[in-house]
């Protein structure tokens, strides 16, 4: 019995070698069939299979990568056409072609001259899975970008309406102020809709916050006090686009708007060693900590007496939290300190430098 097991089990070094090669092939294919690593993947496959020639082909156009002595063009084209048509392994000795089925869709073929059949179909399945991974990876980054687009598109129609109404109301009584507000409004829109880049400096973000708050202050008839305290060393730090502004917007809409009487909001930033800390604090109505936790978890709980669009409450915060975690890692999410009736403080704490995070 033991003897048989030993016979069946290939020696460990060989297994390890094969597994390493498989891993490397997966890494090579991380940009898909059209990526830079395709040629290297073909070379590795050739060595793995001990084949004469290995060809990786997409659905159309010339083969993506050829390793070994090149095949005759019409010979290969015929073989691939046969493989694609029947969607099964095609034999034309000495050639064999296996279609690559990625997520249920035909997306290419692996053609080999001189290789064992059983091995070949297993390897083709591996390659197809690597390609599937690559597609998923791309999808993940697309989702992150879509998150940002969602946030950009989330500028509340109420806010637009209110801002324009406030400006309109002042055109006769205080034309100078109306003019400034209109400029602020234009700046705010340009920043929120700007499509360039995923990162901005803290200074740019603050400028957007400032214009937003100027408009809100006008609406509140200057009942709202705004304080900005910034250590100059954090101003040039690059952070993800639209991080501070949604927090401030949240503070105004859910902290100060429901509160009778004057309110104040303060934005402060300072360096803490390698970290940059930004705090947004308001003395509004606050919320239940459990509610805050649910908001960050993206559960959008219903709150008694919420605003008509209360279902959207905190979507901005959850979105910001998620994007911060995506960029910096899970330990750098938002921190919310709050209690009913005693205001809210939201703290963003991010590294000053992160590879790839550069303001445009």
């Amino acid at each position: 019995m033991l003897d048989r097991m030993r016979r069946e089990r290939p020696d460990e070094a060989k297994t390890a070698r094969v597994l390493t090669v498989v891993q490397k092939i997966d890494a090579d294919l991380q940009d898909g069939l059209g990526g830079r690593g395709a040629a290297s993947a073909a070379r590795r496959l050739r060595r793995l299979l001990g084949a004469e020639t290995v060809v990786l082909a997409g659905l159309d156009g010339p083969p993506v990568a050829v390793a070994g002595p090149g095949p005759q063009e019409e010979e290969l084209a015929g073989l691939l056409a046969q493989a694609y048509e029947q969607a099964t392994t095609a034999h034309r000795p000495p050639w064999t072609a296996v279609p690559l089925i990625v997520a249920g869709e035909l997306s290419g073929a692996l053609a080999v001259r001189g290789g064992a059949d059983a091995e070949l179909s297993a390897v083709a399945a591996l390659v197809a899975r690597s390609l599937d991974h690559a597609a998923l990876r791309r999808a993940r980054s697309r989702i992150a970008q879509a998150d940002l687009r969602t946030l950009r598109a989330q500028i509340s129609p109420h806010f637009l309406h209110n801002a324009l109404a406030v400006i309109g109301a002042r055109i006769r009584t205080d034309p100078d102020r109306a003019r400034t507000l209109l400029n602020d409004f234009a700046d705010y829109l340009r920043y929120s809709f700007s499509t360039q880049g995923d990162y901005a400096t803290v200074a740019d973000e603050l400028q957007a916050v400032q214009t937003y708050l100027e408009l809100q202050r006008a609406r509140f008839d200057d009942r709202m006090e705004l304080t900005v305290r910034m250590a100059p060393e954090v101003l040039p730090v690059a952070i993800p686009f639209l991080v501070i502004q949604p927090i401030v917007e949240n503070a105004v809409r859910h902290g100060l708007e429901p509160k009778p009487g004057p309110g104040s909001i303060s934005v402060s930033g300072f360096g803490e060693g390698p970290l940059c800390v930004i705090e947004v604090e308001d003395d509004g109505v606050g919320m239940d900590p459990a509610f805050a936790r649910a908001v960050l978890a993206g559960e959008r709980p219903r709150k008694a007496g919420a605003a008509p669009d209360g279902g959207r409450n905190g979507v901005g915060l959850a979105n910001v939290d998620q994007r911060l975690r995506t960029v910096y890692g899970s330990e750098y999410g938002l921190v919310i300190e709050t209690a009913p009736g005693s205001g809210t403080k939201v703290v963003v704490r991010v590294p000053r430098f992160m590879r790839g995070v550069v303001a445009n």
Partner: protein, 491 residues
């Protein structure tokens, strides 16, 4: 007592600025950002100078001058000239890279976590070498003004700095450090002028009497080696190139709004440092006339604090002593806060990335190690130890930054090899010079101030090993970004 009072007042003032300084920028007008950008260059230059002028400059320079002669002023030349190299070679590109520390830069340029960690370890070495003389200075000054034992001063200094950082005393580092520059300059310059006036004609003549063969020889002779030219060259190389690689200096350039401003700030720093270094020389020259006894006692680092009492006896003397002591304490406080922050950053952020950085814990741990190292270091000259810190920086981070910024061909392997060789050679030589005594000759110079050979060695290793491999494919783009005038040109 007056001295303690002055130090206490100074500490309270800098805490107040540190914690509430952020609020000084409180503005409610829309253009507050424009305002803070406009303020930055001047303050920033002062802040850099404030952080840079350490106990080595306030106490150590005059002390070493008293001991080794006028040639010690080459240290001051090197400290200042370093900023020429900083302005020309690294200030602008570092600013553009977005990297906040040297480990960040290594990560940006070479994309390797291993090199990042290696850099963080080197940061620790440099920072500890730099912190020890600061703590020593604090211990000595406190001993002089209040009579407490040396270790009390060191321990107290460690706790004071840790506490002040933990309480948020570095939140508005720019304002604290700028304030400290002004304090240091005034508290050194005013007594110096007073002392010059008060010393009398004879003493002034005596102080300026030059005797080219001996004490007033224009070159620096380290440890009586008889190789003044080599020693001077080595010190200059270490201090000039070391300034390029000092971790806590580099991060200050990020306060500037643009790369051009960063360079202008560096030029401003040169002016501020040049003005400052006039005054330690005064203490050194006068100290030779009034306090020659210190040389025999081996306590030359105290000359700046002792001198006012020697020249002006009585009440005014003790007031002057208190002022100078407070200036020295400011030097110690500002530099070691900056150093500890950089050290703690490396410890908490680069070496343990897994969890949210525990900065305060790292500050306390860093300070504890520095205190423990400082306790037996009483006999080490302040400037000599600082010289080692500079030598290590010059033979590790200087090649990394200069080659990383100006040469596309730098590879991971090359950088790793160069950093490892540089840090081992420089610290090894410094250790050897403490533990052994090879007698007069060039060897003692090469051990006591190793920059003359370790810097070229590190450059060479980095270049040769890099040439053997292939640079990472994004090197071109990474380097282009460092030199492109606007961010738009980077893509």
């Amino acid at each position: 007592m007056t001295g303690l009072l002055a130090i206490g007042l100074l500490f309270a003032a800098s805490m107040a600025i540190g914690v509430y300084g952020v609020r000084a920028t409180r503005l409610t007008t829309p253009d507050f950002l424009v305002a803070s950008r406009r303020v930055a260059p001047g303050w920033n230059a002062m802040a850099i100078a404030g952080e840079y002028v350490s106990a080595a400059s306030v106490l150590g320079l005059a002390g070493l001058m008293l001991k080794n002669g006028i040639g010690s002023l080459w240290y001051a030349v090197g400290f200042t000239a370093g900023y020429v190299a900083v302005a020309a070679l690294v200030a602008g590109p570092m600013r553009r890279s977005g990297a906040y520390t040297v480990p960040d830069f290594a990560d940006y340029r070479l994309g390797s976590q291993t090199i990042r960690k290696l850099c963080a370890v080197i940061v620790l070495v440099i920072m500890w070498l730099y912190l020890v003389p600061q703590f020593k200075g604090a211990g000595v000054v406190l001993h002089l003004v209040s009579g407490t034992p040396y270790w009390v001063g060191v321990v107290l200094a460690g706790s004071v700095v840790t506490a002040s950082i933990a309480a948020g005393g570095m939140r508005s580092a720019t304002y604290v450090q700028g304030f400290h520059y002004v304090v240091k300059l005034l508290f050194i310059a005013v007594p110096a002028i007073f002392l010059i006036v008060h010393a009398g004609d004879d003493a002034r003549q005596e102080a300026l009497r030059m005797d080219v063969s001996e004490w007033s020889r224009p070159l620096l002779d380290l440890e009586g080696s008889g190789q003044p030219l080599l020693a001077t060259w080595s010190v200059l190389l270490a201090t000039t190139l070391g300034a390029v690689g000092l971790p806590h200096v580099i991060m200050r350039f990020h306060t500037s709004a643009t790369a051009a401003v960063a360079r202008r700030v560096a030029v401003g720093v040169i002016v501020l440092l040049g003005v400052f270094y006039l005054f330690p020389a005064v203490y050194g020259l006068l100290g030779r006339v009034f306090t020659p006894g210190l040389v025999r006692g081996g306590d030359t680092d105290t000359v700046t604090v002792v001198l006012p009492g020697e020249i002006v006896p009585g009440g005014w003397g003790s007031v002057l002593t208190a002022i100078v002591a407070a200036g020295a304490f400011a030097a110690f406080l500002s530099t070691s806060s900056g150093l500890l922050m950089a050290l703690a950053g490396g410890l908490s952020h680069d070496l343990s990335r897994a969890s949210v950085p525990r900065l305060r814990l790292a500050v306390a741990a860093g300070a504890l190690v520095a205190v423990l190292l400082s306790l037996p270091a009483r006999s080490v000259d302040i400037n000599v130890a600082v010289g080692w810190a500079f030598a290590v920086a010059a033979s590790t981070f200087c090649p990394l930054l200069v080659l990383g910024i100006w040469w596309r061909g730098l590879t991971r392997a090359g950088a790793t090899a160069g950093l490892a060789v540089g840090v081992l050679a420089a610290t090894g030589a410094a250790l050897a010079s403490v533990l052994t005594d090879p007698g007069p000759g060039w060897l003692v110079v090469l051990l006591a101030q190793p920059a003359a050979w370790t810097v070229p060695l590190a450059f060479m290793v980095m270049i040769v090993v890099s040439l053997l491999g292939r640079p990472p494919e994004w090197a071109e783009r990474a380097v282009l970004r460092l030199h492109a005038p606007g961010p738009a040109a980077a893509e």
